[in-house]
């Protein structure tokens, strides 16, 4: 498979799937029922057949509730775990399944920022060491002085006083730590940043600081983001494209503006209306009944059917395929396809 790198997407994800086996050993998988011993293995179906593209310079946001597979997608793209099925292509080359040394050039291009800056920084390393380590690892030929200059330049660019290099992470606040985590990702001059809930653990006034920093870095370094979040107001501000996940499947993919002005999938509509607003004068809140089903026993039909007010027999039996709409958005919903969605007097 090949395509024009100039115009084609930077990241291309096709039919991505991830299962986590629950019963690993032989003994665990043996079940006794009806007088017979049978072998059964259960698995968490975290991500099911996901396809999307990320163009250069985009900030693609993946949204959804806990357990919908957002972080699993992020980890697969960053090469931290390998998919059970499907393909990931970056810059024209297939990157899923790469191991060891083959991954090295990719790690320079794709870097990750994690949610919790208290867990992602090594408490025994000073800030200077934290920033120098990836530099040294990826540039074995460079001298100590060169590496130090680079570390200082990165620190300055994210608004950290280079005098902090002797400090340890515990001496810094959450916002400062997240700055360090961003700086660490930027030391190797990556093209693509996977950010998994980078501001969720921070206070409101600090969230704005970190989000601004990420926007500035995007302009300065021409970065492309895959941004995982559950916070829709951040998505509206930051994202160029949104992927809405539910129970490991895609509900809707659309440009940010299209998604917020004209959400199509019933789950997207519910999600948008559930966000608490400052000016509390919206007439209709959407009430979703019930809870997200478990990803161990996936429903045969639409994953959202158990909570959807428009669900009918077809929804329960047949999983909807993502279909492209006139405005470019992609929606996986039988009700949208059959134009039953208008019966919904939400939003």
């Amino acid at each position: 498979m090949s395509w024009d790198l100039e115009t084609g997407p930077l990241l291309r994800v096709r039919g991505l799937e991830k299962r986590f086996d629950l019963d690993e050993g032989l003994l665990e998988s043996l079940k006794f029922s009806g007088g017979k011993i049978t072998r059964q293995t259960r698995a968490v179906h975290a991500v099911n057949n996901i396809t999307f593209d990320v163009n250069k310079g985009d900030a693609v946001c993946v949204v959804g509730e806990s357990g919908c597979g957002k972080s699993t997608v992020a980890r697969m793209v960053a090469g931290l775990i390998s998919p059970s099925n499907g393909e990931i292509h970056y810059g024209g080359a297939r990157i899923d399944g790469l191991r060891g040394k083959d991954l090295l050039p990719l790690r320079k291009k794709i870097q990750m920022i994690f949610q919790n800056p208290y867990a992602s920084l090594n408490p025994r390393m000073t800030i200077g060491q934290t920033l120098a380590e990836p530099l040294r690892y990826h540039n074995p030929g460079k001298s100590k002085g060169e590496l130090q200059d680079k570390a200082i330049a990165v620190m300055k660019s994210v608004g950290i006083d280079p005098a902090w290099s002797a400090r340890y992470a515990h001496e810094l606040s959450g916002g400062q730590r997240q700055r360090i985590a961003i700086a660490r990702a930027l030391t190797v001059d990556p093209e693509f940043i996977v950010a998994d809930e980078p501001i969720s653990a921070l206070d409101v006034s600090i969230q704005a600081q970190v989000l601004n920093l990420m926007l500035e870095m995007q302009e300065a370094h021409g970065l492309t983001y895959l941004f995982i979040t559950h916070d829709l107001s951040v998505v509206e501000h930051f994202g160029t494209k949104v992927i809405v996940l539910y129970l490991g499947s895609i509900c809707e993919v659309a440009d940010t503006r299209t998604l917020f002005s004209n959400p199509k999938h019933p789950y997207t509509k519910a999600l948008l209306s559930a966000v608490p607003q400052l000016k509390d004068d919206r007439p209709n809140h959407i009430r979703l009944k019930g809870e997200i089903p478990t990803p161990i026993n996936l429903p045969a039909g639409c994953p959202f059917a158990s909570r959807c007010p428009l669900a009918d027999n077809r929804c329960a039996a047949e999983k909807p395929m993502p279909l492209q709409k006139d405005d470019g958005s992609i929606v996986a919903c039988h009700a949208v396809e059959e134009k039953r969605i208008d019966a919904l007097d939400w939003v």
């Binding site: 704005a208 951040v234 501000h237 400052l278 997200i292």
Partner: protein, 330 residues
């Protein structure tokens, strides 16, 4: 008489470098059935306030002065027996993580019956019936079965519903909810908040909602109190706090939200971070981050003054308010 009246409450934490004040003489009132939001960032003293009200502070934290009058009784002077009698009975608390609140080795029914029988002279059957009614009230499907289930068998949203049912078991006068939906997803959060609001309204229960989310406060509460570095810096009707904030910190907090800025542009951030307890600046605690800072702000901490229906602790606002009549006269 108000349901709750807090006067000059000071809470300190003992440390090697001496006692450090986590709450600096805060005062506020809550009327019967009133819903008050406490907003602020981590370290502002929101949760400490909630814990102090329930007399739940544990070492090294201690109340270093002031009084907490709940239905006319001072919580800080209560004997351990009186405190036990009040907690869960007249004043109940809902915490952030329902899994920590619920006992994992007891069924939902056992925990609810235990709570009821600790405070009321009820038979096991009677207590179970009351528990069943309360579970129905919070819209738990098939409540009969739930009573015999363990917490781990239920989802996060369901657990938080059960916590609300348990908080309401003994018909308390006041519920303190500390970030009750922070651990939940948005669609579940909207559900739980609506339930909490409905329960408080229909049972005339006072609510203190501790949260960092201004959107949640705006939906549920009538009055809002903004805290910063152990002080109340602004109090007023929730609508006026959100539509017309006076204190520079409150303004900054609201303006920093992504929905206040057009997409793609820089957010209006507040520079710096909240000072830590051990390095509290002199004067106004916010002066290190404030755009309107003057020498007066660095020297003396501003008093809380009432303007219309909001009370603000800020020299700049005080100056503006003083000068305003003159300007109008000119």
């Amino acid at each position: 008489m108000s349901l709750l009246s807090v006067r000059d409450l000071t809470v300190k934490f003992a440390s090697r470098d001496g006692a450090m004040a986590a709450l600096n003489g805060i005062s506020f009132d809550l009327a019967r059935g009133e819903r008050l939001g406490i907003v602020g960032e981590s370290g502002a003293g929101k949760s400490i306030t909630g814990f102090a009200l329930m007399n739940l502070l544990s070492k090294p934290g201690f109340i270093d002065g002031g009084e907490i009058l709940f239905e006319g009784e001072d919580v800080t002077q209560m004997s351990p027996k009186q405190v036990r009698d009040m907690r869960g009975n007249r004043m109940a608390m809902i915490f952030q993580d329902p899994m920590v609140t619920l006992n994992p080795v007891l069924t939902i029914g056992q925990q609810m019956v235990e709570t009821l029988r600790a405070h009321r002279n009820l038979s096991f059957e009677e207590a179970r019936q009351i528990a069943l009614v309360k579970l129905k009230e919070v819209y738990i499907p098939s409540p009969d079965e739930r009573l015999d289930q363990y917490p781990h068998e239920l989802s996060g949203g369901m657990r938080q519903r059960i916590i609300i049912a348990m908080a309401l078991l003994l018909d308390p006068k006041l519920i303190i909810a500390d970030e009750p939906t922070t651990a939940l997803d948005v669609t579940i959060q909207a559900d739980i908040m609506e339930l909490l609001l409905e329960m408080c309204q229909s049972n005339q229960v006072g609510l203190i909602l501790i949260t960092h989310d201004l959107g949640v406060v705006s939906q549920v509460t009538e009055r809002t109190m903004v805290m910063y570095a152990g002080r109340i810096i602004e109090t007023g009707a929730t609508r006026s706090i959100i539509n017309d904030p006076q204190h520079p910190y409150t303004q900054g907090l609201i303006n920093a939200l992504p929905q206040q800025t057009p997409p793609g542009q820089r957010l209006k951030q507040i520079p710096g971070a909240m000072p830590t307890l051990s390095a509290m600046p002199t004067g106004c605690p916010f002066h290190t981050r404030c755009a309107h800072v003057t020498d007066e702000c660095k020297r003396t901490a501003p008093e809380v003054s009432q303007f219309g229906d909001t009370a603000v602790a800020c020299h700049e606002v005080h100056r503006l308010q003083r000068d305003l009549p003159k300007e109008v006269a000119q």
